[in-house]
Amino acid sequence: MSGWLGPAEWQAVALSLKVAFWATLLSLPLGVLTALALARGRFPGRQVLNALVHLPLIMPPVVTGYLLLLTFGRRAPVGEWLAETFGLVLAFRWTGAVLAAGIMAFPLMVRAIRLAIEAVDPRLEQAAATLGAPRAWVFLTVTLPLMAPGLIAGAVLAFAKAMGEFGATITFVSNIPGETRTLPSAIYSFLQVPGGDGPALRLVAVSIFVSLLALALSELLAHRAAKRVAGR
């Protein structure tokens, strides 16, 4: 199989996996918080937050990427601040690809988690409270486990989206081999030249294979979680 894909392609596969993994993992807690705020919060900016979360879904990816560039680029205030304060550079780095993929996947993740939160029976949380559990503990031991199916669904949607994200990523972090040249960028390159269809389709196959593996894993986890939630 190593002959089937060149080393540059394997590099792209590995990078895409790394990016999708971190994008999913890092956005999960934030996704849960956001979904929680949207599902349960009663603060004035709720609708604005909701709109904001959905923006990456609505806007063309290129625009999202460009906005990221204008915000987190080296010359951009936030980007500069991050670089100076934390030494965190995003533009042209794989970390930036993580950011781009995470942001593009965010609406999908939040929606799934929010649905799951809304399906949690608040009477169980009340019961936990009467037993003396503070809100955070109730959330960790009752709400979170009960919304596990949605959490898993959200994570797998985000992972798949992150594996496939192209527009925002290439716009924000460009296409630097080994650093930001993800699978979709590689596929795009092949598709641009006559005769590149073959290698492109090989990479598509790899991408599908990896994502379906993640999918199958998530189904397994979701099945167990659903059984738990049903109390069996």
């Binding site: 009477r123 019961a127 409270a129 009467t130 037993l131 109390g231």
Partner: protein, 362 residues
């Protein structure tokens, strides 16, 4: 140890407006379906915020509409057994039981999980998930969960309604022990007069969101005015009694104001004070002291009042040496025996009709 409730709230077209004191011991909330019992308990637990009023436990203000933020439910430390069990479906029975243990107040007496599980007969279920339990099993786990959180007070919303007589008979003494030893007050919702009579030290009768009558159990339950509300079947009197001695044949001799009573052994030592409940329909009246009956308890008394019921029955209120006794007889018998205020009669009470579950320590 006392809970004081004085709240008003509106739920759709239902108007809740109640005020009562629940002193140490068991306060029973008694009322027909839809009278607002669960709403009151929810307010006490902090799950419903009344429009106005005040709730305090031993002077600790749980809620006061006037003075700002109420205590959140988890700070109240009230063990709530819900009308529907509300077990955590994703946790094993064991973890459900243990859930509240870690939040027990420091210094509180913590019951032991194993003891409680054995008491409730749920030890074989410990590793199961709630989804596979039967209705009664669920309810028992819910009771255990509340007990194990070592609460300052227990709120129980029809906790035993899904249970068979044998299970009830196992659990009731434990609740009595909680009431008496741990000094934990209990707010107890029930439709079952037997349970109420056995456990309650205070009874609050509710109807349509209002408190109709509240006070010591003896007083409320023998109030002739409440007979239509409580149901004729459930009319009866609670008497204070003192144990005189235990007999070899398993009977205990008790002294009450109006004489002596023989009851099945209650396992109390001589000198202990207790309460017995005598249902109105378990009392037979006689115009002379009857002989040769299997009934061991015959008390002498004087008729104080008569009240006609629906149908052919009357309720007779007797004074037996200071204690009140209710008797339910037919109008025909009342005429035949010439029952009228002032008449001296003998009340025949079958000792065994003062059943095990009707005997409560007071």
């Amino acid at each position: 140890m006392s809970l004081s409730v004085d709240i008003a709230h509106r739920l759709g077209s239902f108007d809740l407006n109640v005020a009562f004191e629940a002193p140490a011991g068991v306060t029973a909330l008694f009322g027909r379906s839809g009278s607002g019992k669960t709403s009151v308990v929810n307010a006490v637990a902090g799950l419903m915020r009344p429009t106005s009023g005040r709730i305090a436990l031993n002077g600790d203000v749980l809620f006061d509409a006037k003075t700002g933020p109420e205590q959140p439910p988890h700070r109240r430390h009230l063990g709530y057994v819900f009308q529907e069990a509300r077990l955590f479906p994703h946790l094993s029975v064991r973890k459900n039981l243990a859930y509240g243990q870690r939040f027990a107040r420091p210094g509180a007496e913590r019951p032991d999980l194993k003891t409680i599980a054995d008491l409730l007969d749920i030890t074989p279920l410990l590793d199961r998930r709630p989804g596979t339990l039967s209705g009664g099993e669920r309810q028992r786990v819910a009771i255990g969960r509340a007990l194990l959180s070592a609460p300052r007070m227990l709120l129980m919303d029809e906790p035993l309604s899904a249970l068979d007589a044998a299970r009830k008979a196992d659990i009731l003494p434990y609740l009595e022990a909680v009431r008496d030893s741990a000094g934990i007050p209990i707010l107890y919702v029930s439709h079952n007069m037997t349970e109420v009579a056995r456990l309650a030290t205070t009874v609050v009768i509710m109807d349509a969101g209002r408190v109709v009558k509240a006070g010591p159990a003896e007083e409320v339950l023998s109030d002739l005015d409440l007979v239509p509300m409580l149901g004729v079947r459930d009319a009866g009197a609670l008497l204070q009694a003192t144990v005189l001695r235990d007999h070899d044949d398993g009977m205990t001799e008790l002294s009450i104001a109006g004489g002596t009573l023989f009851l099945p052994d209650m396992g109390l030592g001589p000198g202990s004070r207790t309460r017995v409940r005598i249902m109105a329909h378990d009392v037979i009246l006689a115009d002379h002291r009857p002989e040769g009956l299997s009934a061991l308890n015959i008390l002498h008394g004087r008729v104080i009042a008569l009240r006609d019921g629906r149908g052919p029955g009357v309720i007779v209120r007797l004074d037996c040496g200071g204690d009140t006794l209710l008797a339910r007889i037919t109008r025909r018998s009342a005429q035949a025996l010439d029952i009228a205020p002032g008449r001296e009669v003998w009340a025949v009470v079958k000792s065994v009709s003062v059943a095990r579950t009707d005997i409560g320590a007071g």
